[in-house]
Amino acid sequence: MVNSLPRLFAEIIDTLDRAGQSVTDPYARSQVFAVIDILTNLAHRVEWKRVDLQVSVDELRALYAEIVTLLGENGTCPAALTSLRERLAAVAQGSPSDDLLAERDRLSRLLVDLMKETTAARAQIPATLADAIDQQCNAYLRRQLERDIALVRRPLFRRMSQA
């Protein structure tokens, strides 16, 4: 989910408040406002699951450590990717952060740079090296996608679209 928890909670509560005023059955109406009460108390206690973020962060660090090894094999790193290797090495060896969400985003941005720079330098690096980097990146993307999909529940398109 890309939206922030505070924003999601705020709008869920406001929406229930508006919708609740249209509920005519007294018992059902009382339930709606009880839910609002609970959500209002829950909103500031909730954060994204740390274990999910930690897995992403750990995998990205491991990916960069692997790429650093690939780029350093045979003693030379292609000139076009020297700067990239240094940045990846710094991250792979760096200290973990408490702000896992910001850390995951920072490491994800670096992955984008990695893919972009490798693509741009393709003509100047051995094909086997480029393919190996691609495979490692794709494997990470596939695992992350599987984790993200596992968290999404069946959409309610039909019910949301039919007023």
Binding site: I12, D14, L111, V112, S161, A163
Partner: protein, 338 residues
């Protein structure tokens, strides 16, 4: 709003006496434009006149496809009036905010049903194979008509003419990359990977045509077994006609059904389109536009999520797009072999 629309219609129809609106309704199906329909009744000379109208107004809040363009939609629909394309007739457009608070245009209300893809059967909303085939043929026929329209003669170059060759494809890649740059709340490495692939594999367009941009089940009206109006032209542009074919083939429009957009199988779609247009269709070309289509759909979802996040759109249905985009990423990964 009803009173404002009534006042507006009275101003546009000075010959109409005792103009009243019936069956006024605000439509909730779409999540972007605000759409209202009504039946206007009046007396003119000695006759009773009735005309159904649909008013499409730019929303006060941010939408899901980025910037709205009332003028472009209206002008394209007006240009299609003398063509075989089943486009609804348009009457007026207003770019001023003085009338309804935002730009809008007025088109005819077309009676009929909009078949939707939500049905549980492989054939979607169709009763049987015969009905499905009939509608499928018309669906492709109208698309062929659209792609054959001489957009230059119709004065539609203002939509932006792509460079020849790979220009049409690259123009769309750039458009959606720019949109992603503006709305990305959290980095999207898989979408960025897709953009790299798209830039590298952009095909040569067989021609430059009017591209509907959202041509699928759910965006046309049927009546008495015929497609009578094609709707939702907000993504219309000039480009590679095969982009529309790629869009039709997207998984979100058919789930696990073998029928593209719940209408016809892939090879049948290609064959029919080729026979009607003379344009050769290859899997590789369509694969490009399926990747682009899924990326476009993902970016539309992320645009909605951004609008929700910054408070410019408070509809919580929009917020669901902040996690539903993941399905498009799954399709992209499958298409790219990731």
């Amino acid at each position: 709003m009803e009173a404002q629309i009534r006042t507006y219609l009275r101003s546009k129809l000075p010959q109409a006496r005792n103009l009243e609106l019936r069956n006024f309704r605000r439509h909730t199906e779409g999540w972007s434009w605000e759409t209202f329909s009504c039946d206007a009744h009046w007396q003119e000379d000695d006759r009773e006149v009735r005309q159904g109208y649909v008013v499409r107004k730019e929303p006060d809040r941010a939408g899901v496809v980025g910037k709205y363009d009332t003028f472009a939609q209206f002008t394209v629909l007006r240009a299609l009036e003398e063509t075989p394309v089943a486009a609804p007739r348009v009457f007026w457009y207003e770019l001023t905010r003085d009338v309804l608070g935002a730009p809008f245009f007025v088109m005819e209300k077309v009676e009929g049903e909009i078949p939707l893809p939500w049905a549980d059967t492989a054939r979607g909303p169709f009763a049987d194979a015969a009905e499905q085939q009939r509608i499928a043929h018309q669906f492709v026929q109208h698309l062929a008509h659209l792609h054959a329209v001489d957009w230059q003669a119709k004065g539609l170059a203002f939509l932006g003419v792509p460079e020849p060759g790979r220009g049409a494809a690259l123009q769309e890649v750039k458009k959606w990359q720019t949109q992603l740059d503006q709305v990305e709340l959290t980095p999207m490495p898989l979408l960025r990977r897709a953009l790299l692939w798209l830039t590298e594999h952009a095909p040569v367009a067989p021609r430059v045509s009017i591209v509907h941009g959202d041509y699928r089940l759910g965006n046309f009206i049927c009546r008495d077994g015929r497609i009578v109006a094609i709707l939702d032209w907000e993504l219309v542009h000039l480009g590679d006609p095969l982009e529309d074919l790629g869009w039709i083939c997207l998984r979100p429009w058919r789930g696990r059904s073998p029928y593209m957009a719940s209408l016809l199988e892939r090879t049948a779609l290609y064959r029919l389109y080729q026979s009607l247009t003379g344009i050769h269709v290859t899997d590789e070309h369509i694969r490009f536009y399926e990747v682009l289509g899924n990326l476009k759909l993902a970016v539309i979802h992320l645009t909605a999520a951004k609008a929700f996040e910054d408070g410019s759109n408070t509809d919580v249905r929009i917020a669901t797009m902040g996690h539903h985009y993941i399905f498009m990423l799954k399709h992209i990964a499958e298409l790219l072999g990731i």
